[in-house]
Amino acid sequence: MARRPRTSSRFPTWLRLVITASIVILGYYLGRDRIIDPVPQPPSRPTRPTPPSAPTAAGPIYRDAIAFGAPVASDDRPSVLIRRPQYTVSYNTKLNVANWVAWNLNASQFGDAPRSSSFTTDPLLPDGAERIVSSDYTGSGYDRGHMVRSEERTRTPAENKTTFYLSNVLPQTHDLNAGPWLNLELFCQSLAQHENRDLYIVAGGMFGSRPKRLNGKVAVPSATWKVIVSLPAGRGLADVHSAGDLRVIAALMPNQTGLLKRPWTDFQTTVDEIERQTGLDLLPTLPDEIERVVEATKG
């Protein structure tokens, strides 16, 4: 092999060393890991379509639970926001239950992990908040009613356990919990798994001024409600350009007995009606002209 002639450098050795070191240091800083909030923040403006949400071996895909906006209360009710990838809770430290729970649902989040075996205190409750425990429900005659359903977080036992935090639970009659509320949950599962939809769900309870309390602590809602934004898998707020781009389903169910065999559709209503009864502004990031249409319509 012919030897290449050596070329003389125009730069002194010390300068070449400084330039080389600078390049190495710059490369390190540009390439190192960044600390990322595990919960994605909602975009202030629609940016780009999100990737499809097909089930993956890697794990569940959790899109931003409040991509359509965190509900805004018309009063000064206590609200501590607890965010985790699986769902977001606005926790009311006077009622000792959620004002609302928001989450994304898609096919990637279903698996075969076993159900958690116990309801437990939410470890992310702020200091000073009353610690609600499963025993507070015992003997009340009310079920521990999930907002995010256990089945909806079944890729791993750890995912499932988050649904058993009592911040994700409201007292529901057994007839409501096992009746139309469950039927609506099954409908959501069917949309996610069989119709390949991404759902953005928010749910909560409706409370009078002096609600009944379990064990003197846990407020019992007079009704529970759920609002579902349904989009083709992988689509989000950025893809909503007209009312025809999304389906919005709302239901408001009384927390009573005698409902067990009633279909959820008996309780279908409009978002406007839920807003009127709860004092919450729902889906606030929807463009106003679209929000007006979908919130006045039974989807």
Binding site: G141, G145, H146, A178, L182, T257
Partner: protein
């Protein structure tokens, strides 16, 4: 968890009630037989305890004499107890069945923590039975039979309800 009376004003519904003859009277299978030591022990160990799920339910004894010493499938076990499977049949270990009252119990829940020794004793007693396991049947209000065979060839255990929506 020990039982307390319900103070819910609304009337209850029939759908939450047991569906099979054995469910309606879990001791139906044993009415013709005198209570055995294990039955009495199980009844005493479970007295006042509640199984917590989305709802809560007491434990009631079940007993079927003379099933023999051969291993039984879950379906054979339910049949021997006179129970018609109401939906899918699922088998759980007793470790898993009682985890919520034992290993996975909420450290912040003083009531549950105070009952751990009783649940541990109940599980230990059930584990003295051969091939003891929980056999659950149903869709939402699952009837769970915690049963095994005695050394004299009887089927003994408890039944309770797990509400899982």
């Amino acid at each position: 968890m020990t039982s307390r009376s319900k103070h819910h004003d609304d009337e209850s519904t029939d759908e939450h009630k047991p569906k099979s003859a054995a469910d309606a009277d879990p001791k139906a299978a044993s009415k013709a037989d005198k209570p055995t030591d294990i039955e009495a022990e199980l009844t005493h160990a479970a007295d006042g305890l509640l199984y917590l799920s989305e709802g809560e339910a007491p434990f009631e004894p079940v007993f079927k004499p003379g099933v023999g010493s051969a291993a039984m499938t879950p379906e054979e076990t339910l049949k021997a107890l006179g129970v018609a499977a109401d939906g899918p049949v699922e088998v759980r270990t007793l470790d898993r069945f009682f985890a919520g009252a034992l290993e996975d119990s909420d450290p912040a829940d003083d009531t549950i923590q105070s009952l751990r020794p009783r649940f541990q004793a109940l599980k230990d007693l059930l584990l003295t039975l051969t091939d003891a396991k929980a056999i659950c049947t149903g869709e939402v209000d699952k009837r769970c039979y915690l049963v095994g065979r005695t050394s004299t060839g009887d089927l003994a255990g408890l039944v309770t309800t797990a509400t899982e929506t």
